[in-house]
């Protein structure tokens, strides 16, 4: 740490891009690991953990055992990742593949095979991602062991099962050597996200949120699936090691400014992948699921919906950077709108990211639920990351992912600790001065570290990683608007971050415990099963969801204090235990230390020695002359962004700390922005808009279709069935029962047939 500052200062003056030349896939060499199959332990150990959790659920384990096995497995996984990293670091710019067994592989024509195996592709980017995924997962599992302790039993097992399964899926996503295994992980993390958001399944809002997350993700997945098919049809392979070299010729076309010459089937791959990435990483227009996903237990929000899963989209872009470089939407020259327009896929990524960042930040400013604020900040920060990768700088994106993982996990876990301690209270108007309460110092400090990072306080990890992105944006002459948007967003971010900190952690000590139902009504399930198994003592209380909330409150939230009923007076905050504190401390320190990765160019080295390194689109010539206020953007950004951040913090300080007497009020209340404020508070009515434009019409359509199916399609069938009956009805009078009638009919019949004969003769 001693030489940190000098190093930093010397490096600060150097343009980042000039330091290590991007190498591209061609420069990677294939190496083999010692004990290659050991790499499979990285997904394998979490899988083991998941299986153990299932077994424990079957065995009726009612202790914290599942948590410990999970932590052990994940830690083991982390250790293997470290080992892998060390090996790959020694190998340098290299990759390796480790095949376990065949999955979907078949001949689609004689001698031509579709191959998608359970096989790992490992390069330095993989290592980077897996290091923080497994590391954070292990920490958060430890945190969750305490956080979820109220639910020991089947629910506990279920939680850790999904948790382990998530890490397994994430490992498949990140390490898969082909797009289909990536897809497996992609949907797998979606499933785990679904299961964990819906963990408190007795609560309709949680179930709805889980469903929403899964379905919106499915829309993104659709893009990925279609992209994979298109990739395969065009290139005949979806294995990275074979695919990436084949893309190079198109990348060459694209970088030489001839993007329109790339075949449309190649151009579209990246566009479809963009859809996928925006779905999974909650970007416009598919971001709406992420804030709702906060219905899940907080460790889940921290790990899945902040640190790891939502960065999968960024990973996808980074991993398939060559495809993105030659991706575009090309309007045919003879189209009647915008003929010949070429929109590069990366521009879509950049603009999507920037707009999401701004939008989410504005919403985040107006929310009162601290977890939701963190959620919107995640959406916003993900926007930053996409701008980073969208600027063809995988490094910028990946670095922000890396730092963000630490500080956002810290933030979420801190919020979670608060929530855990205050009976599920998340409203920043009902909490104040938490940091100074007994036993909450660690939480407060961790929160502070997290906030500083998020606000981009100088020399924090978040500061560096955000600056890289800002600088990249400013140094790209085409993306100035984006750069300014991001800068404004950075200021807003600092404001809303510290709004939370100043209101919840500083100021007068005051609190109002939350409705336990909000966070802990997973208890119902647990409850009911308990008395399902152990007799029916509480009979009525536990059976019904609606009533169960009260039952749960009585038994849990403040159970130890024995204060049923009048909770306001009797409630004592439930200070975090050692596990939570330990994890918070570790993560807070981690998010500080992560800053060290910038001056040492650790992340940069990892990314640029992988296939994610982009061939410079703008060319170094275009890069150098870009200036901002007459200085190198990278240099000036330190000052500018630090300044913007400081302004944000100061405004927050002024509005939410100075002179605040109660938890509920602050000076900010005096500011009336009318519709603007209301709009932000109501999330700009995006959910309502989607509801009205997509869900409701779809529902109406479905009802109409159902009606048509019943009335028209089935009606026709029934009509066909009735036809003989109707015909019979009309013929029935011919059987009048009278002898003469019959005779006459017979005679007429003979006559008619004779006429028929006559006509056919003529």
């Amino acid at each position: 740490m001693t030489d940190f500052l000098p190093t930093l200062l010397t490096l600060a003056s150097e343009p980042v891009a000039a330091q290590v030349g991007p190498v591209g896939f061609a420069a990677l060499k294939e190496v083999s690991l010692s004990a290659p199959l050991a790499a499979w332990l990285i997904p394998g150990l979490p899988m083991l953990g998941a299986v153990l959790a299932v077994l424990m659920a079957i065995g009726g384990v009612k202790s914290k055992l599942p948590a410990w096995t999970t932590v052990l497995c994940l830690a083991g996984s982390f250790a293997v990742t470290l080992w892998l990293y060390l090996q790959m670091r020694d190998a340098g710019a290299a990759y390796t593949t480790v095949k376990l067994f065949d999955w979907i592989s078949f001949d689609y024509l004689p001698g031509k095979a579709f191959v998608a195996n359970f096989s790992l592709y490992i390069d330095q980017l993989t290592c980077l991602w897996m290091l923080f995924v497994t590391g954070l997962a292990a920490c958060i599992a430890l945190y969750a062991s305490e956080y979820m302790s109220h639910d020991v039993g089947p629910g506990y097992c279920r939680f850790f099962f999904a948790f382990c399964l998530f890490v397994f899926s994430m490992a498949c996503l990140v390490m898969g050597d082909n797009l289909l295994l990536l897809y497996l992980g992609w949907e797998g993390v979606g499933l785990c996200s679904y299961l964990l958001i819906g963990y408190f399944y007795a609560k309709p809002s949680a179930v709805a949120a889980a469903k929403k997350a899964f379905i919106i993700n499915r829309i993104g997945d659709l893009g990925l699936a279609l992209g994979i098919m298109l990739t395969f049809v065009h290139f005949g392979t979806i294995q990275f090691a074979e695919l990436l070299p084949k893309v190079e010729q198109y990348v060459a076309l694209a970088t030489s400014g001839n993007l329109a010459a790339v075949p449309a089937s190649v151009q579209w791959i990246a566009v479809l992948f963009t859809l996928a990435a925006f779905g999974k990483s909650a970007q416009l227009p598919l971001y709406v699921w992420l804030p709702d996903a906060m219905e899940g237990p907080t460790p889940v929000s921290a790990l899945i919906h902040a640190a790891t899963m939502v960065t999968a989209g960024v990973y996808l872009v980074a991993r398939t950077m060559p495809l993105f470089q030659c991706g575009a939407v090309t309007v045919p020259p003879d189209a009647w709108v915008l003929p010949g327009l070429v929109v590069p896929a990366l521009d879509i990524v950049v603009w999507g990211g920037a707009l999401t960042a701004l939008l989410a930040a504005t919403i985040g400013m107006a929310q009162f639920d601290i977890k939701r604020i963190m959620a919107y900040s995640t959406v916003s920060q993900l926007g930053f990351m996409f701008v980073g990768v969208g600027l063809a700088s995988s490094y910028a994106g990946a670095f922000h992912v890396f730092t963000h993982a630490f500080f956002k996990a810290t933030l979420f876990l801190s919020c979670g600790a608060v929530m855990h301690g205050f009976g599920g209270q998340l409203d920043l108007r009902k909490l104040s001065g938490v940091m100074w309460m007994k036993g909450w110092l660690v939480v407060g400090l961790a929160m502070l570290v997290g906030c500083l990072n998020l606000a981009g306080f100088p020399f924090t990890a978040g500061f560096f990683s955000k600056d890289v992105i800002l600088a990249e944006a400013f140094s790209n002459p085409h993306q100035r608007v984006v750069a300014w948007i991001l800068l404004v967003t950075a200021g807003l971010t600092a404001y809303y971050t510290f709004r939370v900190f100043f209101r919840v952690f500083l100021g007068p000590k005051s609190f109002e415990p939350g409705d336990e139902a909000h966070g802990h009504n997973d208890a119902h399930g647990h409850d009911d099963r308990a008395h399902d198994g152990a007799g029916h003592g509480h009979g009525a209380k536990g059976e019904h969801g609606a009533k169960g909330e009260h039952g749960a409150k009585g038994e849990h939230g403040v159970g130890e204090k024995g204060a049923h009923g009048a909770h306001d007076q009797a409630f004592q905050p439930h200070a975090p235990g050692w596990a939570i504190n330990l994890v918070l401390a570790v993560l807070a320190i981690g998010s500080l230390v992560a800053a060290y990765a910038y001056p040492t160019k650790w992340v940069k080295g990892l990314v640029e020695k992988s296939s994610a390194a982009a061939v410079d689109l703008t060319g170094s010539a275009a890069h150098a002359p870009a200036t901002l206020l007459g200085m190198d953007p990278h240099e000036i950004m330190y000052y500018v962004s630090a300044g913007v951040g400081a302004v944000g913090i100061l405004v927050a300080f002024f509005l939410h700390y100075l002179g605040r007497k109660t938890a509920a009020t602050s000076r900010a209340d005096a500011i009336k922005l009318g519709a603007l404020q209301r709009g932000a508070q109501h999330k700009w009515y995006v959910d309502e808009f989607y509801d009205a434009t997509v869900r409701v019409p779809l529902k109406v359509l479905a009802h109409v279709l159902h009606f048509l199916d019943k009335v028209l399609v089935d009606g026709l069938v029934n009509l066909a069935g009735l036809l003989p009956r109707g015909l019979g009805m009309s013929l029935r009078p011919s059987q009048g029962g009278e002898l003469h009638g019959y005779a006459l009919a017979m005679a007429c019949g003979i006559a008619v047939l004779a006429l028929v004969a006559l006509f056919s003769l003529v």
Partner: protein, 132 residues
């Protein structure tokens, strides 16, 4: 009305049967100018009359007699054709037809007696309980 019917039948008959004339060949025509067609016309008329009688009369006995008329119409046609073809097959056929007609008549009368006993009426329309 009858003239028209007759005219149409005549035209039709000549169209279809004009090629045949009774008494061709070596046998002298007993009534020159009377051809096969005339016999057939008579037979057809009888047949149709029988049919019309069958359709219009309600008395079961008359109805049966109408069918007898139709049978005998066929008989006339057979005889005429037998004569035309110069063989006796038609005549033989007619013998059998007469026999069958007699058998049928016996049956019919028995049946009619049975029916009359039950309902005291000979109206064919009285028997119409089953329909549909």
């Amino acid at each position: 009305m009858i003239d028209t019917t007759f005219g149409v039948a005549l035209t039709l008959g000549q169209f279809t049967l004009g090629q045949f004339t009774l008494g061709q060949g070596d046998l002298p025509a007993p009534m020159s100018g009377i051809t096969l067609y005339h016999y057939l016309f008579t037979a057809s008329t009888m047949f149709v009359l029988g049919l019309i009688g069958f359709l219009t009369r309600r008395n079961l006995i008359v109805m049966f007699l109408s069918t007898e008329l139709m049978f005998q119409a066929a008989g006339i046609a057979l005889i005429a054709f037998g004569r035309f073809h110069m063989n006796q097959t038609g005549d033989a056929f007619v013998i059998f037809v007469l026999t069958v007609a007699a058998a049928e008549a016996a049956l019919a009368l028995a049946l009619i007696v049975l029916l009359f006993r039950r309902k005291e009426t000979l109206d064919g329309q009285a028997w119409a309980s089953m329909k549909g």
